[in-house]
Amino acid sequence: MIVFEAVHKRYPGGREALTDVSFELDRGEMAFLTGHSGAGKSTILKLVALLERPSRGRVVVNGTDVSTVRSRGVPAFRRQVGMVFQDHKLLSDRPVFDNVALPLAISGIARRDLDKRVRAALDQVGLLGREQGFPQELSAGEQQRVGIARAIIARPPVLIADEPTGNLDPDLAMEVMTLFRRLNEVGVTVLVATHDIHLIDRLGTRRIHVENGRMAEEDGDGTP
């Protein structure tokens, strides 16, 4: 589902963010992307979401080699990748309903189908009934869950998350990670970047470790 083959990424200015990164994530698989800040986790996620393009090597997402995607095709490509951000990137001037419905609005789903699906997505993250609230009225954990509901509402085959628990206390963080696990169980391929080692030790999921832009050892069973 996600394939990296000898991927290099050099940013303008010469900084080499990724060097010879290769890994593969099967359909329906879940993995944590670990490493220190600046190790290259975010760059890997940006390459998956086509927010950046690789300098060398091959990135394939859901059967599509990103090098074949022209800039006109980027929006359609991005719609198959649900994204969750550390700062959740919600629109503060719109109610929860509109925030969650955004990906559907973009792909032109009939409005009558909208209500049902927004409620279903909010139900999955445990926020049913909060449709009319505004993001500021919610706690940090709730905001993050709204972000997740938005990421999954269009049922993308791939879900990526960049430090989704970075601003949450351990209990909320565990809750959010468990949510990702549940989504993975219904068939979504999930890749989560995090530096919260303690948390993922308890989850026991595959880990892809990067250090200074290079692949480090991989632990198949989650035990270090």
Binding site: A49, R78, S107, P157
Partner: protein
């Protein structure tokens, strides 16, 4: 949550009819919500609409001036007159025969025979002339025929040709025709028309620039939202749509304002102008905005606003790329 592969299969089954329905639904939504955004910032929107309205009203007003000037000159054109003075000593019967010959021509609308006595009477009625005339022993005036050609202002050449022909006739002494002023008037109107076209072009570009600049500010104010929409896979067309509709509304508002200004302007001027015309013995009535002015303001406004938004959003939206 359904499995992803089921979801995509469901997407593929949407029929063209449903697609169209959904498409128009979202367009209608963008149209209405962009109007809502305009109304939520009334002062800024009003300023833009006023500038666009004035930009459209000015060429519209010039157009009305031209329209009315043409109406006036049409009346004047009908009063283009040739004075044919016959040779001194022409007999009354000869003068009458000549008058009939002229009156029978196709290119003459009407002709009036003026005897020397009638001519003298006309002069007497002019202030200051009566005393001078009573000093004369004989009537120095010849028979004269005044005529109005059937073609008016629009063809000074034909009037000139008619005068030339009459000059060649026996017993005709002098043919007076002043087509120079007719020519001058025609070229002044032509100049005015060109000036209006130029002004309309320049102000049209101004309207596009004003709409474009307002949309640029709108885009900057909603930069965060645009980034998020691009992040979740919003196409360029989707991101751009509300701004295009925004430009449309600005243009429509400006167009309506221009239309209103033209109506109010011509309505307030109509009374005084009629009074003035009556004083000059003219039945002139001021013409209000015609269908061209209506089309130019009410359709041109939204079109130019949309163009400005299109131009501005093409440039500025490209510069916003999500950088999480």
């Amino acid at each position: 949550m359904a499995r992803p592969d089921q979801a995509s299969a469901r997407g593929a089954r949407r029929s063209a009819g449903q697609w169209l329905e959904t498409w128009s639904e979202w367009h209608a939504q963008a149209l209405v919500s962009s109007l809502g955004k305009l109304l939520r910032q009334p002062l800024g929107s009003a300023l833009t609409i006023i500038v666009i309205g004035l930009g459209l009203a000015l060429p519209g007003a010039l157009h009305l001036v031209l329209l009315n000037a043409e109406q006036v000159t049409e009346n004047i054109g009908r009063s283009v007159q040739l004075s044919v003075f016959l040779s001194p000593g022409t007999e009354a019967s000869q003068a009458k025969a000549l008058h009939q010959r002229i009156e029978g021509r196709d290119d003459v609308l009407e002709a009036k025979l003026v005897s020397p006595e009638e001519g003298l009477e006309d002069f007497r009625s002019v202030e200051g002339f009566s005393e001078a005339l009573s000093a004369l022993e004989d009537n120095p005036l010849p028979w004269a025929i005044t005529l109005r050609p059937s073609h008016g202002l629009d063809s000074p050449e034909l009037t000139e040709a008619l005068a030339m022909e009459l000059r060649g006739w026996d017993l005709v002494d002098i043919v007076q025709v002043d087509t120079d002023w007719v020519r001058r008037l025609a070229s002044m109107l032509d100049l005015l028309r060109r000036a209006i076209e130029g002004a309309a072009l320049v102000l049209g570009i101004g309207v596009i620039a004003v709409a474009g600049n307002t949309i640029r500010l709108d885009i900057n104010a909603r930069r965060e939202e645009i980034e998020v929409v691009k992040l979740v896979g919003g196409s360029d067309a989707y991101v751009r749509r509300p701004f295009l509709y925004g430009g449309f509304w600005y243009g429509l508002g400006g167009g309506l304002l221009a239309w209103l200004l033209l109506w109010v302007g011509s309505w307030t001027l109509a009374g005084p102008i009629e009074a003035l015309a009556t004083d000059y013995g003219s039945a002139f009535r001021l013409l209000g905005p015609d269908s061209l002015a209506a089309t130019a303001t009410l359709l041109g406004g939204p079109l130019l606003g949309w163009l400005g938004a299109w131009w501005s959003s093409s440039y500025h939206l490209r510069q916003i790329e999500p950088k999480p």
